[in-house]
Amino acid sequence: MDPKHIRNFSIIAHIDHGKSTLADRMMEVTGTVKARDMKAQLLDDMDLERERGITIKARAVTIFHEKDGETYMLNLIDTPGHVDFNYEVEKSLQACEGALLLVDASQGVEAQTVANAYLAIEANLEILPVLNKVDLQHSRPDEIAEEIENSIGIDATDALRVSAKTGLGVKEVLDEIVNKIPPPSGDPLDPLRALVIDAVYDEFRGIIVYLRIVDGTIKERDVVYLMGTDKVFEAVEIGRFSPKMVRINVLHAGEVGYFISNIKSLGDVRIGDTMCMNKAKGIEMLPGYAPPLHMVYADFYPTASGDFEGLREALTTLTLSDSSLDFEPVTSDALGFGFRCGFLGLLHMEIVQQRLEREHDMDMIQTAPTVTYKVRMKSGEEIEIHSPGALPDPDKFEELLEPIARISIMVPSEYVGVVMQISVEHRGDYIRQEYLSRNRVQIVFDVPLAELIYDFYDKLKSGTKGYGTLNYDLTGYRADNLVKLRVIVNGKDVDALSSIVHFDVAERRGRNVIAKLRKDIPRHQFEVPLQAAIGGRIIARETIRAMRKDVTAKCYGGDITRKRKLLEKQKKGKRRMRSIGNVEIPQKAFLSVLGEGEKKK
């Protein structure tokens, strides 16, 4: 298709502001998907995504829209809506010329929306503000339009007003996409250049590469070259997403589609790479994506030692569909061989863990997440550590530095006091505060990233009754009075349970960890002493009493099957545990280093 009739766009929205619903409605209005085939939120095709109502992986779909007697090809490249997935958002935006800024007209602008809108502005995209859920009685479109202007600085007077749920205004949005978003600039007659925007692994067909054709065309049987990985492949099949994969003969400049070549090796495809014709001369690589910034690290250890290779295989497969995940082998005294993984954030970590368990059937222990610390050694050398266990002896280093996050929180004004208090309790430094509208405020703090992952987010959510949203950027490192909090179980130091904490709160955190471990570690046939220590000084101790009674009073003919199954289940529950010395520690105990109270899900 002539590039003049193509529009590539994405939708920027906060969780629950209706992005997937709007996408569904666009497909329905244009007849891309017949009404009877609609299942809610077509684009979220991972189980986890639909369950959580959030988009994790970018997805693409091609829609054909008629306007003034002409047919336009609109390529929607879906973007994730959570702070952890900024990296995926950047990738999606690279392949677009415009973006819909979708805001819930009853909720208003959220921190995440602002962050993603700035990413779109940086990528020079045309931004179309759209106010959703205007059918709701308590929607406030005028006020929200003002919020958009105040927080993002774009004109929102003509913002489209829609209801993705009822379909109101959806056709107008499609028309505006054609009117306002510029067509792609590439020339179909130039030599091929295509951007690898995503890749997923398919058991039967190998790797499916998502492409945005920038220049030229690609046809089946073309032999192509991936410039970054230096690999040659033949196009076995190409096609577009509607939203299921549909095979076609050719993809032209400006279009979005897929490429299959029975690629089996996971290392052969790198997202952000440039694809050109094999043996083409003088092709310039497209600007690649910025490498992902890992905010938190955690270790995964297989529960049964034999699963180590299986875990490696599973992680390797995951990195293919999640290029932001990073991992390397580690060894722990207590837990044996495992992998240290770098994540974009806490949600990302949780999702990786669940995908490993669900999609790859991995049974594993995950340690509490930690940030990357910098250690300035007395020798003058500076090292980075990704786990408390790696911290050198205190007399060997000069300073310990921790990453600082600049967080921007948006809340209704009545919660300002609560937010201030939570920030101060988490060693936050106040930066500034701005009113976005009469009753919505943006507050900016600098907070150590470690505090953010400790329980800041949980506290913010509960303290603001769910209204507070936050976004953060890393601003740098700062030295502070940080110490390693050791945890000793039955006389053995357990590195996987230790953490780096600020000296002033070390005692309280130590008592919390020990109190939680006492609840989480099951009773054994012997007493299990638990201690927390800083250096050689014990700051908290408790004892798990020996289990002394475990006996069923009645067990007769009618009880046997049921009771046996119950006991078998108890026995099985032990599989997700690791033995350290002769103490069995369950998975949840490894997360006890996090949070003040019970960890909320």
Binding site: Q525, R548, D550, V551, A553, K554, Y556, G558, R564
Partner: protein
């Protein structure tokens, strides 16, 4: 009303294969679910209500017996529910019907019926004895009125004593008392008091249970709501030790975790469960174990009736264990017995012929002092009794 014979005749043309009859002599359990009141700690299948049609229940039960009950059972146990809740004519109909079907009166060495003080009359006791019941198990639970109130028992201590009187007058040589210890606030001295009174009245067998809060029972719900303060673990251990002390002093043996008897007075029907033997259970919720396959009836009167009458006594569930798992099960159950398990006998019962997978488990537990051996048998020593489940579950699924 459907007659029992009709159901039997109706079954062969159904697709669902009717249950296979267990070998002659197999022990028989009969579940009689009706009760005056549901005790809040009880998790057996029971029904409270005057509106149920008991005659129709007996029709269905006898129909099931026609299809499944073994001929000439060695032992019979009438459990519940409350078997004594039935009227004398109903009990007569039940026993006469079973005699016609199984011929137990010439085969069974032990026929036990559970009964409760509020419904056991001298008339019923005599009638049952005349029809071949030779052992009664009386649900006394406690002789302290406050404790009986907490258990919501529909009888007083005096009524319990009167029931025992009826048992003796009717001429039963073998009778057992059920007692429960561990009610919130129950004084430790009640344990000795209850046991001594019951023994003084001539019981040759006592089941002394620690109170258990079974999930799904009303008592469990009250506990979770914080309606009362349960006894703590230390006290429960003290209760167990106290009950054993008093019973040993009186000359009874602890032959199972909660069961005590003078020499030769053990319940033979129940011993068979712990020896992992076969048995057939009829009535709603009753379980059976025939030639390595365990089955169970529906825990619902309506569904059980349909399964019996329309489907040829089709069980609601069924499981067949692999030899290795059956071996683990044999150990788990057998270790509840004071005499423990003979490894060779266990292997033979489970039809396991390979190297014994329980050996490393046994060795580990022997080392920890949680098992002991004497001649061919391995058993849990006194000091490990309170950990019987912990020890037993080490043997389950030994191949996993």
């Amino acid at each position: 009303m459907r007659q029992s014979g009709d159901a039997h005749c109706a079954s062969p043309d159904l697709i669902n294969s009717p249950a296979k009859r267990a070998p002659k002599g197999t022990p028989l359990y009969v579940h009689l679910p009706f009760c005056v009141h549901k005790c809040p700690y009880c998790d057996f299948f029971s029904i409270v209500g005057q509106n149920e049609d008991h005659e129709k229940f007996l029709d269905t039960l006898l129909a099931e017996a026609e299809i499944r009950a073994p001929r000439s059972p060695r032992t019979i146990f009438f459990g519940g529910g409350t078997p004594s809740y039935f009227t004398a004519p109903q009990l007569e109909r039940l026993l006469a019907g079973l005699e016609r079907i199984t011929g137990y009166r010439s085969s069974a060495e032990e026929v036990t019926a559970e009964c409760n003080p509020e419904s056991l009359s001298l008339e019923k006791a005599i009638l049952m004895r005349e029809l071949g019941v030779n052992r009664l198990s009386v649900g006394i639970q406690s002789l302290n009125p406050a404790t009986l109130k907490f258990y919501e028992r529909p009888h007083s201590p005096e009524e319990a004593l009167a029931a025992v009187d009826a048992v003796r007058t009717a001429g039963y040589e073998r009778w057992s008392a059920d007692l429960i210890h561990g009610a919130p606030g129950e004084p430790l001295s009640d344990i000795e008091h209850n046991i001594r009174q019951v023994l003084d009245l001539g019981a040759s067998h006592i089941s002394a249970y620690g109170l258990t809060y079974e999930p799904g029972t009303p008592l469990y719900a009250s506990l979770k709501k914080g309606a009362f303060e349960p006894q703590d673990e230390d006290r429960e251990l003290e209760n167990l030790a106290e009950a054993r002390r008093v019973l040993f002093d009186a000359g009874l043996n602890a032959y199972e975790v909660s069961n005590f008897a003078t020499n030769g007075q053990e319940c033979r029907h129940n011993l068979n469960y712990w020896r992992n033997g076969g048995y057939v259970g009829i009535g709603p919720s009753a379980a059976s174990h025939v030639e390595g396959t365990r089955t169970g009836n529906a825990r619902s009167l309506g569904r059980w009736s349909r399964d019996v009458l329309d489907k040829g006594a089709k069980p609601a569930w069924s499981e067949t264990l692999e030899p290795i798992d059956r071996l683990g099960e044999t150990w788990w159950l057998g270790l509840r017995l004071a005499v423990g398990v003979d490894p060779a006998e266990a292997r033979a019962l489970a039809k396991w012929e390979g190297p014994d997978p329980t050996e490393p488990i046994r060795e580990r537990l022997l080392e920890q002092g949680l098992l002991k051996t004497m001649e061919n048998r391995t058993y849990i020593p006194e000091s490990g009794l309170a950990l019987t489940d912990y020890i037993g579950k080490q043997f389950l699924s030994p191949g996993a």
